[in-house]
C-alpha cells in the first residue's frame, strides 16, 4: 500500500537554518544538512530545503549545500528558492537533489513547467503554491487566490485552476501552502487542500498550519493530501518525526515507522 508521507521543511538563510530549533545542545544545530540528517534518522520521509534569501539576492540555491545533502541523506529531498530557469534546475538535480520546487517563477513563466518536465521528467518538478482566502469572484471562483513574494503579491490566479494547469503543463507534485493558516499552528486549511487534491492527478503535499499530529491526520484524510509538511512542529515545538508517525499510525493512517 502506498504510504502517506511526512515532509520536513527547512528554511535556509545564508546557508543556515533560520527558525529556532529545539536541539540547542547540538553544535550543528544551524547546519541544514546536519539537521535534515537528524530528522531522517527520526523518520522523516522527505526533506525540503527552501533557500529564502536566494531569490532576493538573485543567485541560485546553494549548490554546495545540495551536494552535501545528497551525500548525507538517504531519503529524497527537494530544493527550492532562487531557481531562475532550466539551467538552475539542471544544476540542482546534478548536484544531487531529487526534485526542484518552482513557485514565483512558475507563476511568471508557466512554460518552465513544460521545459522542466521535458528535460528532467515530471517527477523532478514540484509546483510550490502559496494561496490566500479571498471573496469568491468570477476571476477567483474557488475563493482562494495564488499569491507570490511571501503572500504580498496577488497573482490574479484561482488556486484550483492554477493547480490543474500546472499539473497539465508538467508539475509532478504540488506543494500547497495556505498563507492564512501558515505559522498559526491551528491546523491546515482543509478545504483548499481537499479541493486541490481532488482536482489534480498528481500528489499534493499539504503545508501551512500544523501544530499537532491530529492536524496532519486531518490533512491526510479529510484533506485527501498525499503528504503533510511540517516545520515548527519539529523545529521548536518538541515533536519528533517518530512521535508524529506513531500518532498517525494510531489514527489508522498508513505511514512508514522504521526510519
Amino acid at each position: 500500500m502506498l504510504l502517506k508521507r511526512l515532509v520536513v521543511c527547512l528554511d535556509v538563510r545564508n546557508g543556515r537554518v533560520t527558525k529556532g530549533v529545539r536541539f540547542e545542545a547540538n553544535a550543528d544545530v544551524g547546519d541544514p544538512v546536519a539537521l535534515a540528517a537528524r530528522y531522517c534518522r527520526e523518520g522523516a520521509d522527505e526533506v525540503v530545503f527552501y533557500d529564502i534569501t536566494a531569490s532576493a539576492e538573485g543567485r541560485p540555491c546553494d549548490l554546495e549545500m545540495v551536494a552535501r545533502a545528497a551525500r548525507e541523506l538517504s531519503v529524497p529531498f527537494t530544493v527550492g528558492g532562487g531557481i531562475r530557469g532550466p539551467e538552475d534546475m539542471r544544476a540542482a538535480l546534478l548536484a544531487g537533489a531529487d526534485k526542484v520546487s518552482l513557485n514565483s517563477l512558475a507563476v511568471a513563466s508557466p512554460e518552465i513547467l513544460e521545459a522542466g518536465a521535458r528535460a528532467f521528467g515530471r517527477q523532478c518538478v514540484v509546483l510550490g503554491m502559496d494561496v490566500k482566502k479571498v471573496p469568491p469572484s468570477a476571476a477567483i471562483p474557488s475563493g482562494y487566490e495564488v499569491v507570490t513574494h511571501g503572500g504580498r503579491r496577488p497573482a490574479g490566479l484561482d488556486a484550483v485552476a492554477w493547480a490543474r494547469e500546472a499539473a497539465r503543463r508538467g508539475a509532478g507534485e504540488i506543494c500547497l501552502n495556505a498563507i492564512d493558516t501558515d505559522g498559526v499552528r491551528e491546523g491546515y486549511d482543509l478545504e483548499i487542500t481537499r479541493r486541490v487534491s481532488e482536482a489534480v492527478p498528481v500528489p499534493v503535499v499539504a503545508s501551512g498550519g500544523a501544530g499537532e499530529p491530529r492536524h496532519l491526520a486531518e490533512a491526510l484524510t479529510l484533506g485527501r493530501a498525499d503528504a503533510a509538511l511540517v516545520a515548527s512542529m519539529v523545529h521548536t515545538m518538541g515533536y519528533s518525526c517518530q512521535d508524529i508517525k506513531r500518532a498517525l499510525r494510531e489514527q489508522g493512517i498508513p505511514v512508514r515507522l522504521s526510519p
Binding site: 502506498l2 545528497a70 548525507e72 538517504s74 529524497p76 538535480l93 509532478g172 500528489p203 512508514r256 522504521s258
Partner: protein, 204 residues
Amino acid sequence: MVTILDYGAGNLTSVRHAFERLGERPEVIASAAEWRGGPLVFPGVGSAASGMAAVRARGFDALLRAAAASGTPVLGICLGMQLLLERSEEDGGTAGLGLIKGACVAFDPAKAPGAKVPHMGWNTVAPAAHPVLEGLGEEAFYFVHSYFARPAEARDALGTTDYCGERFASVVGRGSLVATQFHPERSGAAGARLLANFLRWEGR
C-alpha cells in the same frame, strides 16, 4: 569493488553516495572497456528508449550480458531494472536486454480510480527468500515510476508491491541478476540494508 555504470542516468550520484555511506569506494565507468571486474550496479532514471540507446553506445549491453553469463552479481535500479527485461511499452515500444523474460507495461489509472501515476512515494515490498533481501521484512521503499515489470516467469519476481490495481514485481532476479523498481539509495535504513546485502552477495 563495486562498479556503477554511467550512461547519463539521473540517479548515479545518489547511488554512488549510498554505497559511500556503507564505506565503499565505488568505481564509476563510462564505457564497458573500463570495467576491472567485480559486481556491477546498473542505475537509471529516465525514459526507456533514450536509456537503452545510451547503454548500447557505451557497450554496457554486452557487458551486462557477459556478467549474466559468467555469474557476476548485477544490481539494476529503476530504469536499470526495466531494461533487463525483453521489452518495454514505453516510447512506443522499446527493446530491452532480454536477460529476464517479460515486459514493462504502464499503470492504467482506470483500474483504480483516484490512483495517481507516476507511482511516487513510499510503498511496501513483500520479499521472497533471496540473499539480497535478507533481514528485510515487509519494509517500505521509495518508488518513482509509471511503468512496471511483468516477468514472464513467476519465480523471477523476488518481491511484490500493490499499486493502481496491480500486484507488480517490485524486485526481479535471475541467476546473478537482481533488480529493484524502487530506489534503495533513497530508501533510508531498509535501502541501505539491501545495498549492504548486495555487496556481500556472490551472485548465487
